[in-house]
Protein backbone atom coordinates (compact mmCIF):
# COMPACT_ATOMS: atom_id res chain seq x y z
CA UNK A 1 0.00 0.00 0.00
CA UNK A 2 1.44 3.38 -0.97
CA UNK A 3 1.13 5.88 1.86
CA UNK A 4 -1.30 8.72 1.06
CA UNK A 5 -0.40 12.26 2.08
CA UNK A 6 -3.57 12.45 4.17
CA UNK A 7 -5.15 9.38 5.70
CA UNK A 8 -8.54 10.59 6.92
CA UNK A 9 -9.96 11.15 3.38
CA UNK A 10 -8.96 7.56 2.59
CA UNK A 11 -11.62 6.36 5.01
CA UNK A 12 -11.89 4.32 8.18
CA UNK A 13 -11.32 0.90 6.62
CA UNK A 14 -8.08 2.05 4.94
CA UNK A 15 -6.85 3.73 8.12
CA UNK A 16 -7.55 0.67 10.26
CA UNK A 17 -5.86 -1.66 7.77
CA UNK A 18 -2.79 0.57 7.57
CA UNK A 19 -2.55 0.88 11.36
CA UNK A 20 -2.88 -2.88 11.80
CA UNK A 21 -0.15 -3.41 9.17
CA UNK A 22 1.94 -0.69 10.88
CA UNK A 23 2.16 1.35 7.67
CA UNK A 24 1.11 4.32 9.77
CA UNK A 25 0.74 4.80 13.52
CA UNK A 26 -2.46 5.72 15.32
CA UNK A 27 -0.71 8.78 16.74
CA UNK A 28 0.06 10.04 13.23
CA UNK A 29 -3.62 9.69 12.32
CA UNK A 30 -4.75 11.48 15.48
CA UNK A 31 -2.19 14.23 14.85
CA UNK A 32 -3.60 14.61 11.34
CA UNK A 33 -7.10 14.99 12.80
CA UNK A 34 -6.06 17.78 15.17
CA UNK A 35 -4.01 19.51 12.44
CA UNK A 36 -7.08 19.40 10.25
CA UNK A 37 -9.21 20.86 13.07
CA UNK A 38 -6.84 23.83 13.24
CA UNK A 39 -6.75 24.22 9.45
CA UNK A 40 -10.54 24.30 9.07
CA UNK A 41 -11.10 26.26 12.33
CA UNK A 42 -13.29 23.62 13.97
CA UNK A 43 -13.60 25.60 17.21
CA UNK A 44 -15.84 28.41 18.37
CA UNK A 45 -14.12 30.97 16.12
CA UNK A 46 -14.97 28.97 13.01
CA UNK A 47 -17.18 25.98 12.26
CA UNK A 48 -17.95 25.63 15.99
CA UNK A 49 -18.51 21.91 15.42
CA UNK A 50 -16.37 20.72 18.36
CA UNK A 51 -17.34 21.64 21.93
CA UNK A 52 -14.53 19.84 23.74
CA UNK A 53 -11.33 18.07 22.80
CA UNK A 54 -7.95 17.29 24.38
CA UNK A 55 -5.15 16.84 21.86
CA UNK A 56 -2.61 15.51 24.35
CA UNK A 57 -5.05 13.04 25.88
CA UNK A 58 -6.09 11.74 22.44
CA UNK A 59 -2.43 11.35 21.43
CA UNK A 60 -1.70 9.50 24.68
CA UNK A 61 -4.69 7.23 24.04
CA UNK A 62 -3.42 6.52 20.52
CA UNK A 63 0.09 5.75 21.80
CA UNK A 64 -1.08 3.38 24.50
CA UNK A 65 -3.82 1.61 22.56
CA UNK A 66 -2.94 -1.93 21.41
CA UNK A 67 -2.66 -2.07 17.61
CA UNK A 68 -5.67 -3.95 16.33
CA UNK A 69 -9.40 -3.93 15.91
CA UNK A 70 -11.83 -3.10 13.13
CA UNK A 71 -11.33 0.64 13.75
CA UNK A 72 -7.64 0.59 14.76
CA UNK A 73 -6.38 4.16 15.00
CA UNK A 74 -9.53 5.66 13.49
CA UNK A 75 -10.33 9.11 14.93
CA UNK A 76 -13.99 9.45 15.93
CA UNK A 77 -16.17 12.33 17.10
CA UNK A 78 -19.19 11.79 19.36
CA UNK A 79 -22.23 14.00 19.76
CA UNK A 80 -22.17 15.78 23.10
CA UNK A 81 -25.16 13.81 24.45
CA UNK A 82 -23.21 10.51 24.46
CA UNK A 83 -21.62 9.88 27.84
CA UNK A 84 -17.83 9.69 28.01
CA UNK A 85 -15.55 9.78 31.04
CA UNK A 86 -13.15 12.05 29.20
CA UNK A 87 -14.35 15.33 27.61
CA UNK A 88 -17.70 16.94 28.39
CA UNK A 89 -21.24 15.62 27.98
CA UNK A 90 -23.07 18.95 27.97
CA UNK A 91 -25.88 18.13 25.50
CA UNK A 92 -25.35 21.62 24.10
CA UNK A 93 -26.98 23.02 27.24
CA UNK A 94 -26.00 25.51 29.94
CA UNK A 95 -27.60 23.20 32.49
CA UNK A 96 -24.86 20.60 31.85
CA UNK A 97 -22.03 22.97 30.93
CA UNK A 98 -18.70 21.36 31.82
CA UNK A 99 -20.33 18.12 33.02
CA UNK A 100 -18.15 15.03 32.65
CA UNK A 101 -19.90 11.68 32.92
CA UNK A 102 -18.77 9.14 35.54
CA UNK A 103 -19.34 6.28 33.07
CA UNK A 104 -19.05 5.57 29.34
CA UNK A 105 -21.88 4.90 26.93
CA UNK A 106 -21.87 1.40 25.47
CA UNK A 107 -21.10 2.85 22.02
CA UNK A 108 -18.07 4.70 23.43
CA UNK A 109 -16.82 1.46 24.99
CA UNK A 110 -17.38 -0.49 21.76
CA UNK A 111 -15.53 2.10 19.68
CA UNK A 112 -12.63 2.05 22.13
CA UNK A 113 -12.51 -1.75 22.10
CA UNK A 114 -12.43 -1.66 18.27
CA UNK A 115 -9.37 0.61 18.40
CA UNK A 116 -11.00 3.97 17.59
CA UNK A 117 -9.64 7.12 19.24
CA UNK A 118 -12.01 9.81 20.55
CA UNK A 119 -10.86 13.21 19.24
CA UNK A 120 -13.78 15.43 20.19
CA UNK A 121 -17.34 15.92 21.38
CA UNK A 122 -19.56 17.62 18.85
CA UNK A 123 -21.86 20.62 19.01
CA UNK A 124 -25.59 19.95 18.84
CA UNK A 125 -28.99 21.53 19.29
CA UNK A 126 -29.68 21.67 23.01
CA UNK A 127 -30.78 18.20 24.17
CA UNK A 128 -31.09 17.25 20.46
CA UNK A 129 -34.10 19.51 19.95
CA UNK A 130 -33.66 21.28 16.65
CA UNK A 131 -32.87 20.86 12.98
CA UNK A 132 -30.04 23.32 12.45
CA UNK A 133 -27.69 23.25 15.51
CA UNK A 134 -28.66 26.91 15.99
CA UNK A 135 -30.30 25.98 19.32
CA UNK A 136 -26.98 25.07 20.94
CA UNK A 137 -26.28 27.09 24.09
CA UNK A 138 -22.71 27.38 22.80
CA UNK A 139 -23.53 29.06 19.48
CA UNK A 140 -24.49 27.67 16.10
CA UNK A 141 -22.30 25.22 14.21
CA UNK A 142 -21.57 26.07 10.58
CA UNK A 143 -21.71 24.02 7.40
CA UNK A 144 -18.16 23.38 6.12
CA UNK A 145 -19.38 23.58 2.52
CA UNK A 146 -20.82 27.10 3.03
CA UNK A 147 -20.17 28.64 6.42
CA UNK A 148 -23.10 31.06 6.06
CA UNK A 149 -25.41 28.04 6.21
CA UNK A 150 -26.42 25.56 8.90
CA UNK A 151 -25.01 22.02 8.94
CA UNK A 152 -28.47 20.69 9.85
CA UNK A 153 -29.37 19.26 13.20
CA UNK A 154 -29.60 18.26 15.80
CA UNK A 155 -26.35 16.32 15.22
CA UNK A 156 -24.92 19.15 13.11
CA UNK A 157 -21.54 19.27 14.86
CA UNK A 158 -20.89 15.57 14.17
CA UNK A 159 -21.87 15.93 10.51
CA UNK A 160 -19.74 19.05 10.09
CA UNK A 161 -16.75 17.30 11.71
CA UNK A 162 -16.91 14.44 9.19
CA UNK A 163 -17.56 16.75 6.23
CA UNK A 164 -14.62 18.94 7.28
CA UNK A 165 -12.30 15.93 7.44
CA UNK A 166 -11.64 15.76 11.20
CA UNK A 167 -12.72 12.12 11.31
CA UNK A 168 -14.05 9.57 8.83
CA UNK A 169 -16.72 8.48 11.32
CA UNK A 170 -18.83 10.28 13.91
CA UNK A 171 -21.81 9.38 16.03
CA UNK A 172 -25.00 11.36 16.38
CA UNK A 173 -28.43 10.67 17.74
CA UNK A 174 -31.79 10.54 16.00
CA UNK A 175 -35.25 11.21 17.35
CA UNK A 176 -36.86 12.59 14.19
CA UNK A 177 -34.11 12.81 11.57
CA UNK A 178 -31.20 14.36 13.46
CA UNK A 179 -28.59 12.21 11.69
CA UNK A 180 -30.06 11.89 8.18
CA UNK A 181 -30.92 15.58 7.73
CA UNK A 182 -27.45 16.94 8.69
CA UNK A 183 -25.84 14.18 6.61
CA UNK A 184 -27.86 15.42 3.61
CA UNK A 185 -26.94 19.06 4.30
CA UNK A 186 -23.22 18.27 4.65
CA UNK A 187 -22.88 15.85 1.73
CA UNK A 188 -22.02 12.74 3.75
CA UNK A 189 -23.69 9.44 4.74
CA UNK A 190 -25.96 9.24 7.81
CA UNK A 191 -27.57 6.08 9.19
CA UNK A 192 -30.48 5.70 11.60
CA UNK A 193 -30.66 2.03 12.57
CA UNK A 194 -33.73 0.05 13.56
CA UNK A 195 -34.97 1.12 17.00
CA UNK A 196 -33.06 -1.04 19.50
CA UNK A 197 -30.28 -2.22 17.17
CA UNK A 198 -27.59 0.01 18.73
CA UNK A 199 -27.51 0.30 22.51
CA UNK A 200 -28.63 3.64 23.91
CA UNK A 201 -26.99 3.09 27.27
CA UNK A 202 -25.22 6.36 28.01
CA UNK A 203 -27.24 8.41 25.51
CA UNK A 204 -28.90 11.26 27.40
CA UNK A 205 -32.61 10.62 26.87
CA UNK A 206 -34.84 12.97 24.87
CA UNK A 207 -37.86 10.93 23.69
CA UNK A 208 -37.45 7.33 24.77
CA UNK A 209 -39.81 5.68 22.27
CA UNK A 210 -38.01 7.38 19.39
CA UNK A 211 -34.33 7.87 20.33
CA UNK A 212 -31.58 6.05 18.41
CA UNK A 213 -27.83 6.47 18.18
CA UNK A 214 -26.86 6.92 14.53
CA UNK A 215 -23.70 6.85 12.45
CA UNK A 216 -22.07 9.38 10.12
CA UNK A 217 -19.49 8.32 7.55
CA UNK A 218 -17.77 9.87 4.57
CA UNK A 219 -18.75 6.78 2.58
CA UNK A 220 -21.32 3.99 2.72
CA UNK A 221 -18.56 1.51 3.56
CA UNK A 222 -17.28 3.56 6.51
CA UNK A 223 -20.86 3.77 7.82
CA UNK A 224 -21.36 0.03 7.41
CA UNK A 225 -18.07 -0.64 9.19
CA UNK A 226 -19.10 1.52 12.14
CA UNK A 227 -22.53 -0.12 12.27
CA UNK A 228 -20.80 -3.51 12.35
CA UNK A 229 -18.88 -2.46 15.44
CA UNK A 230 -21.82 -0.83 17.23
CA UNK A 231 -24.85 -3.03 16.54
CA UNK A 232 -25.82 -5.84 18.86
CA UNK A 233 -27.31 -6.99 22.14
CA UNK A 234 -26.83 -4.81 25.22
CA UNK A 235 -29.88 -5.90 27.17
CA UNK A 236 -27.98 -5.91 30.47
CA UNK A 237 -27.71 -2.11 30.22
CA UNK A 238 -30.52 -1.02 27.91
CA UNK A 239 -34.07 -2.36 28.17
CA UNK A 240 -34.77 -1.35 24.56
CA UNK A 241 -31.74 -3.15 23.12
CA UNK A 242 -32.68 -5.88 20.66
CA UNK A 243 -31.37 -9.27 21.83
CA UNK A 244 -30.07 -10.36 18.43
CA UNK A 245 -26.64 -10.54 16.81
CA UNK A 246 -25.75 -8.07 14.06
CA UNK A 247 -25.54 -9.50 10.53
CA UNK A 248 -22.83 -8.46 8.05
CA UNK A 249 -23.59 -5.07 6.55
CA UNK A 250 -20.46 -4.66 4.43
CA UNK A 251 -20.67 -6.20 0.99
CA UNK A 252 -18.76 -6.19 -2.29
CA UNK A 253 -21.93 -6.68 -4.32
CA UNK A 254 -23.23 -3.69 -6.28
CA UNK A 255 -25.95 -5.66 -8.05
CA UNK A 256 -29.61 -5.04 -7.17
CA UNK A 257 -31.17 -7.65 -9.43
CA UNK A 258 -34.35 -8.99 -7.83
CA UNK A 259 -34.74 -6.05 -5.45
CA UNK A 260 -38.00 -4.08 -5.54
CA UNK A 261 -37.73 -0.44 -4.43
CA UNK A 262 -40.84 1.60 -3.67
CA UNK A 263 -41.22 5.28 -4.58
CA UNK A 264 -43.77 6.68 -2.11
CA UNK A 265 -45.81 9.40 -3.79
CA UNK A 266 -46.21 11.38 -0.54
CA UNK A 267 -42.45 12.07 -0.53
CA UNK A 268 -42.52 13.61 -4.02
CA UNK A 269 -45.18 16.33 -3.59
CA UNK A 270 -45.87 19.01 -6.18
CA UNK A 271 -44.10 21.46 -3.86
CA UNK A 272 -40.77 19.57 -4.11
CA UNK A 273 -38.40 21.93 -5.95
CA UNK A 274 -37.73 20.83 -9.54
CA UNK A 275 -33.95 20.76 -9.00
CA UNK A 276 -34.37 18.42 -6.00
CA UNK A 277 -36.67 16.20 -8.05
CA UNK A 278 -34.12 16.04 -10.88
CA UNK A 279 -31.45 14.77 -8.49
CA UNK A 280 -33.83 12.11 -7.16
CA UNK A 281 -34.78 11.04 -10.69
CA UNK A 282 -31.11 10.65 -11.55
CA UNK A 283 -30.59 8.50 -8.44
CA UNK A 284 -33.58 6.34 -9.35
CA UNK A 285 -32.14 5.83 -12.84
CA UNK A 286 -28.83 4.84 -11.22
CA UNK A 287 -30.56 2.25 -9.05
CA UNK A 288 -32.43 0.87 -12.06
CA UNK A 289 -29.12 0.62 -13.92
CA UNK A 290 -27.91 -1.67 -11.13
CA UNK A 291 -30.89 -3.99 -11.62
CA UNK A 292 -33.49 -2.67 -9.14
CA UNK A 293 -37.17 -2.62 -10.07
CA UNK A 294 -39.11 0.49 -9.03
CA UNK A 295 -42.75 0.55 -8.00
CA UNK A 296 -44.99 3.51 -7.11
CA UNK A 297 -46.35 3.05 -3.59
CA UNK A 298 -48.31 5.06 -1.03
CA UNK A 299 -47.83 5.73 2.68
CA UNK A 300 -51.21 7.44 3.10
CA UNK A 301 -50.79 8.78 6.64
CA UNK A 302 -47.50 10.58 5.97
CA UNK A 303 -49.11 14.02 6.38
CA UNK A 304 -49.93 13.14 10.00
CA UNK A 305 -46.36 12.20 10.93
CA UNK A 306 -45.22 15.69 11.95
CA UNK A 307 -48.25 16.42 14.21
CA UNK A 308 -47.87 12.97 15.80
CA UNK A 309 -44.13 13.43 16.29
CA UNK A 310 -44.48 16.91 17.79
CA UNK A 311 -46.89 15.57 20.39
CA UNK A 312 -45.06 12.38 21.33
CA UNK A 313 -41.51 13.81 21.36
CA UNK A 314 -42.29 16.84 23.57
CA UNK A 315 -44.41 14.66 25.88
CA UNK A 316 -41.56 12.23 26.41
CA UNK A 317 -39.01 15.05 26.67
CA UNK A 318 -41.01 16.74 29.41
CA UNK A 319 -40.77 13.53 31.45
CA UNK A 320 -37.11 12.79 30.65
CA UNK A 321 -35.84 16.30 31.31
CA UNK A 322 -37.51 16.40 34.72
CA UNK A 323 -34.24 14.91 36.04
CA UNK A 324 -32.40 18.20 35.45
CA UNK A 325 -33.40 19.92 38.67
CA UNK A 326 -30.16 21.14 40.23
CA UNK A 327 -30.02 18.36 42.84
CA UNK A 328 -27.81 15.53 41.59
CA UNK A 329 -25.67 17.02 38.82
CA UNK A 330 -25.38 20.00 36.53
CA UNK A 331 -26.23 23.65 37.13
CA UNK A 332 -27.95 24.81 40.30
CA UNK A 333 -29.39 28.30 40.82
CA UNK A 334 -30.69 29.15 44.27
CA UNK A 335 -34.25 30.44 44.56
CA UNK A 336 -36.98 30.79 47.14
CA UNK A 337 -37.02 27.37 48.81
CA UNK A 338 -36.92 24.02 47.00
CA UNK A 339 -39.49 24.92 44.37
CA UNK A 340 -37.80 28.25 43.74
CA UNK A 341 -34.49 26.45 43.24
CA UNK A 342 -36.07 24.03 40.73
CA UNK A 343 -37.68 26.85 38.77
CA UNK A 344 -34.63 29.13 38.80
CA UNK A 345 -32.29 26.30 37.78
CA UNK A 346 -34.50 25.10 34.92
CA UNK A 347 -35.38 28.61 33.79
CA UNK A 348 -31.72 29.68 33.54
CA UNK A 349 -30.42 26.29 32.46
CA UNK A 350 -32.72 25.52 29.51
CA UNK A 351 -32.83 27.54 26.30
CA UNK A 352 -35.94 28.77 24.49
CA UNK A 353 -36.63 25.71 22.32
CA UNK A 354 -36.17 23.20 25.14
CA UNK A 355 -38.44 25.27 27.39
CA UNK A 356 -41.06 25.46 24.62
CA UNK A 357 -41.02 21.69 24.15
CA UNK A 358 -41.15 20.96 27.88
CA UNK A 359 -44.20 23.22 28.19
CA UNK A 360 -45.84 21.69 25.10
CA UNK A 361 -45.19 18.19 26.41
CA UNK A 362 -46.47 19.01 29.87
CA UNK A 363 -49.63 20.45 28.32
CA UNK A 364 -50.42 17.42 26.12
CA UNK A 365 -49.90 15.09 29.09
CA UNK A 366 -51.94 17.18 31.54
CA UNK A 367 -55.36 16.27 32.88
CA UNK A 368 -58.09 16.85 30.29
CA UNK A 369 -55.75 16.88 27.29
CA UNK A 370 -54.01 13.49 27.50
CA UNK A 371 -56.67 11.63 25.49
CA UNK A 372 -57.09 14.35 22.86
CA UNK A 373 -53.38 14.68 22.21
CA UNK A 374 -51.06 12.00 23.52
CA UNK A 375 -53.33 8.96 23.32
CA UNK A 376 -54.60 9.99 19.88
CA UNK A 377 -51.05 10.59 18.68
CA UNK A 378 -49.96 7.14 19.84
CA UNK A 379 -52.92 5.58 18.01
CA UNK A 380 -52.22 7.49 14.78
CA UNK A 381 -48.57 6.46 15.13
CA UNK A 382 -49.83 2.89 14.77
CA UNK A 383 -51.50 3.85 11.46
CA UNK A 384 -48.21 5.28 10.21
CA UNK A 385 -46.43 2.07 11.23
CA UNK A 386 -49.09 0.04 9.42
CA UNK A 387 -48.51 2.06 6.24
CA UNK A 388 -44.95 0.72 6.20
CA UNK A 389 -45.84 -2.89 7.07
CA UNK A 390 -48.47 -2.89 4.30
CA UNK A 391 -45.86 -1.76 1.76
CA UNK A 392 -43.36 -4.40 2.87
CA UNK A 393 -46.12 -7.04 2.74
CA UNK A 394 -46.79 -6.10 -0.92
CA UNK A 395 -43.31 -7.31 -1.89
CA UNK A 396 -41.31 -4.08 -1.63
CA UNK A 397 -37.82 -4.50 -0.13
CA UNK A 398 -36.90 -0.82 0.40
CA UNK A 399 -38.08 2.72 -0.28
CA UNK A 400 -36.28 5.61 -1.95
CA UNK A 401 -37.12 9.26 -1.17
CA UNK A 402 -35.41 12.64 -0.88
CA UNK A 403 -34.00 13.13 2.64
CA UNK A 404 -35.04 16.78 2.81
CA UNK A 405 -37.22 19.09 0.74
CA UNK A 406 -34.40 21.63 0.29
CA UNK A 407 -30.62 21.95 0.72
CA UNK A 408 -29.02 23.64 3.76
CA UNK A 409 -30.53 27.04 4.60
CA UNK A 410 -28.81 30.17 5.87
CA UNK A 411 -28.13 30.63 9.59
CA UNK A 412 -30.98 32.70 11.02
CA UNK A 413 -33.28 32.09 8.04
CA UNK A 414 -35.95 30.24 10.04
CA UNK A 415 -37.46 31.81 13.15
CA UNK A 416 -40.92 30.23 13.34
CA UNK A 417 -40.78 27.04 15.48
CA UNK A 418 -43.14 25.02 13.27
CA UNK A 419 -41.30 26.04 10.11
CA UNK A 420 -38.17 24.57 11.69
CA UNK A 421 -40.13 21.39 12.51
CA UNK A 422 -40.98 21.07 8.78
CA UNK A 423 -37.29 20.26 8.18
CA UNK A 424 -38.16 16.79 9.51
CA UNK A 425 -40.97 16.24 7.00
CA UNK A 426 -39.37 13.27 5.21
CA UNK A 427 -37.49 11.80 8.16
CA UNK A 428 -39.82 11.55 11.18
CA UNK A 429 -41.94 8.67 9.84
CA UNK A 430 -39.02 6.23 10.03
CA UNK A 431 -38.55 7.08 13.71
CA UNK A 432 -42.26 6.69 14.43
CA UNK A 433 -42.33 3.32 12.63
CA UNK A 434 -38.98 2.24 14.20
CA UNK A 435 -37.57 1.24 10.80
CA UNK A 436 -33.99 1.83 9.60
CA UNK A 437 -33.24 4.63 7.16
CA UNK A 438 -30.12 6.30 5.79
CA UNK A 439 -29.20 9.32 3.74
CA UNK A 440 -26.41 9.43 1.17
CA UNK A 441 -25.24 12.12 -1.25
CA UNK A 442 -26.96 12.06 -4.65
CA UNK A 443 -25.87 15.38 -6.14
CA UNK A 444 -25.85 19.14 -5.69
CA UNK A 445 -28.39 21.90 -6.12
CA UNK A 446 -26.82 25.33 -6.61
CA UNK A 447 -23.59 23.90 -5.26
CA UNK A 448 -25.18 22.54 -2.08
CA UNK A 449 -25.38 18.81 -1.25
CA UNK A 450 -28.63 16.89 -1.65
CA UNK A 451 -29.34 13.61 0.12
CA UNK A 452 -31.32 10.60 -1.03
CA UNK A 453 -32.99 8.45 1.61
CA UNK A 454 -33.22 4.66 1.65
CA UNK A 455 -35.74 3.17 4.09
CA UNK A 456 -36.01 -0.55 4.88
CA UNK A 457 -38.16 -2.85 7.06
CA UNK A 458 -37.24 -3.36 10.72
CA UNK A 459 -33.82 -5.04 10.98
CA UNK A 460 -33.57 -4.79 7.18
CA UNK A 461 -30.23 -2.96 7.30
CA UNK A 462 -28.57 -5.54 5.03
CA UNK A 463 -30.80 -4.64 2.07
CA UNK A 464 -30.66 -0.95 3.01
CA UNK A 465 -26.87 -0.96 2.77
CA UNK A 466 -27.01 -3.06 -0.42
CA UNK A 467 -29.08 -0.30 -2.07
CA UNK A 468 -26.78 2.43 -0.72
CA UNK A 469 -23.59 0.70 -1.88
CA UNK A 470 -25.03 0.26 -5.38
CA UNK A 471 -26.26 3.86 -5.59
CA UNK A 472 -22.95 5.29 -4.37
CA UNK A 473 -21.06 3.10 -6.83
CA UNK A 474 -23.25 3.94 -9.83
CA UNK A 475 -23.28 7.70 -9.17
CA UNK A 476 -19.55 7.88 -8.45
CA UNK A 477 -18.27 11.46 -8.48
CA UNK A 478 -21.68 12.66 -9.76
CA UNK A 479 -22.99 12.25 -6.19
CA UNK A 480 -20.96 15.33 -5.26
CA UNK A 481 -21.68 17.41 -8.38
Amino acid sequence: MSAPREWIPAGAASIAAAVRERTVSATDIVRESFDRAVAVKAGADGLNCILSSDRDASLRAAESHPVGGALAGVPVVLKDNIATTTLTTSCGSKILEGYISPYNATVATKLHQAGAILVGKANMDEFAMGSSTEFSAFGPARNPLDTSRVPGGSSGGSAAAVAAGLAPIALGSETGGSVRQPAAFCGIVGVKPTYGLISRFGLVAFASSLDNIGVFGRTVDDSALAMQVLAGDDTTHDATSAPRPAPTYRTDSRDLTGLVIGKPREYFPESLPALMREQCDRAIDALKARGATFRDVSLPHTDLALPVYYIIAPAECSANLARFDGVRYGMRIDGDGLRGMYEATRSKGFGAEVTRRILLGTYVLSAGYFDAYYRKAMEVRALITKDFTDVWASGVHALFTPTTASPAFHIGAISDPYEMYLCDLFTVSANLAEVPAMSLPIGRVQGLPVGGQVIAPKFGEVNMFRVAYALESELGAEAHR
Partner: protein, 103 residues
Protein backbone atom coordinates in the same frame (compact mmCIF):
# COMPACT_ATOMS: atom_id res chain seq x y z
CA UNK B 1 -57.61 23.75 21.12
CA UNK B 2 -55.68 26.80 22.28
CA UNK B 3 -53.81 27.77 25.46
CA UNK B 4 -54.23 31.00 27.45
CA UNK B 5 -51.76 32.88 29.64
CA UNK B 6 -53.26 31.14 32.67
CA UNK B 7 -52.74 27.74 30.98
CA UNK B 8 -49.08 28.57 30.33
CA UNK B 9 -48.60 29.70 33.96
CA UNK B 10 -50.22 26.43 35.10
CA UNK B 11 -48.13 24.11 32.90
CA UNK B 12 -44.95 26.05 33.69
CA UNK B 13 -45.71 25.37 37.37
CA UNK B 14 -46.28 21.67 36.65
CA UNK B 15 -43.01 21.54 34.71
CA UNK B 16 -41.12 23.46 37.44
CA UNK B 17 -39.91 26.00 34.88
CA UNK B 18 -39.84 29.65 35.86
CA UNK B 19 -41.40 31.75 33.09
CA UNK B 20 -41.05 35.54 33.41
CA UNK B 21 -44.34 37.45 33.05
CA UNK B 22 -43.02 39.35 30.02
CA UNK B 23 -42.40 36.05 28.17
CA UNK B 24 -45.98 34.78 28.58
CA UNK B 25 -47.55 36.47 25.55
CA UNK B 26 -44.83 35.17 23.26
CA UNK B 27 -45.14 31.63 24.61
CA UNK B 28 -48.93 31.67 24.22
CA UNK B 29 -48.54 32.67 20.55
CA UNK B 30 -45.77 30.11 19.90
CA UNK B 31 -47.58 27.21 21.59
CA UNK B 32 -50.87 28.01 19.86
CA UNK B 33 -49.03 28.22 16.53
CA UNK B 34 -47.74 24.70 17.09
CA UNK B 35 -50.96 23.27 18.57
CA UNK B 36 -52.91 24.57 15.55
CA UNK B 37 -51.03 22.04 13.40
CA UNK B 38 -51.82 19.23 15.87
CA UNK B 39 -55.52 19.67 15.23
CA UNK B 40 -55.03 17.63 12.03
CA UNK B 41 -55.28 14.56 14.27
CA UNK B 42 -58.90 15.42 15.10
CA UNK B 43 -59.79 14.58 11.50
CA UNK B 44 -58.69 10.96 11.94
CA UNK B 45 -61.71 8.82 12.84
CA UNK B 46 -61.25 7.20 16.25
CA UNK B 47 -63.23 4.07 15.37
CA UNK B 48 -60.91 1.04 15.22
CA UNK B 49 -57.78 3.01 16.06
CA UNK B 50 -57.22 1.43 19.46
CA UNK B 51 -57.38 -2.07 17.91
CA UNK B 52 -54.74 -1.16 15.30
CA UNK B 53 -52.55 0.31 18.02
CA UNK B 54 -52.92 -2.85 20.12
CA UNK B 55 -52.07 -5.04 17.11
CA UNK B 56 -48.93 -2.97 16.46
CA UNK B 57 -47.77 -3.55 20.01
CA UNK B 58 -48.53 -7.30 19.93
CA UNK B 59 -45.49 -9.50 20.45
CA UNK B 60 -43.43 -6.73 22.00
CA UNK B 61 -41.09 -8.55 24.37
CA UNK B 62 -40.77 -7.57 28.01
CA UNK B 63 -37.35 -7.65 29.62
CA UNK B 64 -36.61 -8.94 33.09
CA UNK B 65 -37.37 -6.39 35.81
CA UNK B 66 -33.74 -6.24 36.86
CA UNK B 67 -30.90 -3.84 36.35
CA UNK B 68 -27.16 -3.94 36.58
CA UNK B 69 -25.56 -1.23 38.67
CA UNK B 70 -23.05 0.81 36.73
CA UNK B 71 -19.63 1.30 38.30
CA UNK B 72 -18.85 5.01 38.38
CA UNK B 73 -15.35 6.27 37.59
CA UNK B 74 -15.89 9.37 39.73
CA UNK B 75 -17.69 9.77 43.05
CA UNK B 76 -21.05 11.55 43.07
CA UNK B 77 -19.79 14.41 45.23
CA UNK B 78 -17.40 15.34 42.41
CA UNK B 79 -20.30 16.40 40.20
CA UNK B 80 -23.29 16.94 42.53
CA UNK B 81 -24.06 20.60 43.28
CA UNK B 82 -24.18 19.96 47.05
CA UNK B 83 -23.68 16.75 49.07
CA UNK B 84 -23.09 15.86 52.71
CA UNK B 85 -22.59 12.44 54.33
CA UNK B 86 -23.63 10.74 51.07
CA UNK B 87 -26.86 12.69 50.72
CA UNK B 88 -27.81 15.27 48.11
CA UNK B 89 -28.70 18.54 49.84
CA UNK B 90 -31.71 20.62 48.82
CA UNK B 91 -33.06 23.92 50.17
CA UNK B 92 -35.40 23.79 53.15
CA UNK B 93 -38.99 22.98 52.31
CA UNK B 94 -41.32 25.90 53.09
CA UNK B 95 -43.51 23.56 55.16
CA UNK B 96 -40.55 22.90 57.49
CA UNK B 97 -39.92 26.58 58.24
CA UNK B 98 -41.78 26.35 61.54
CA UNK B 99 -39.95 23.22 62.69
CA UNK B 100 -36.78 24.98 63.81
CA UNK B 101 -33.33 24.84 62.28
CA UNK B 102 -32.71 21.10 62.13
CA UNK B 103 -30.79 20.89 58.85
Amino acid sequence: MAVSKDDVRHIAGLARVGVPEERLDGLVAELNGILGHMDALERVPSRGLAEIADATRAGMPLGADARTSVPLERARDEFAPLMRDGFFLVPRLATHDDAGDAS
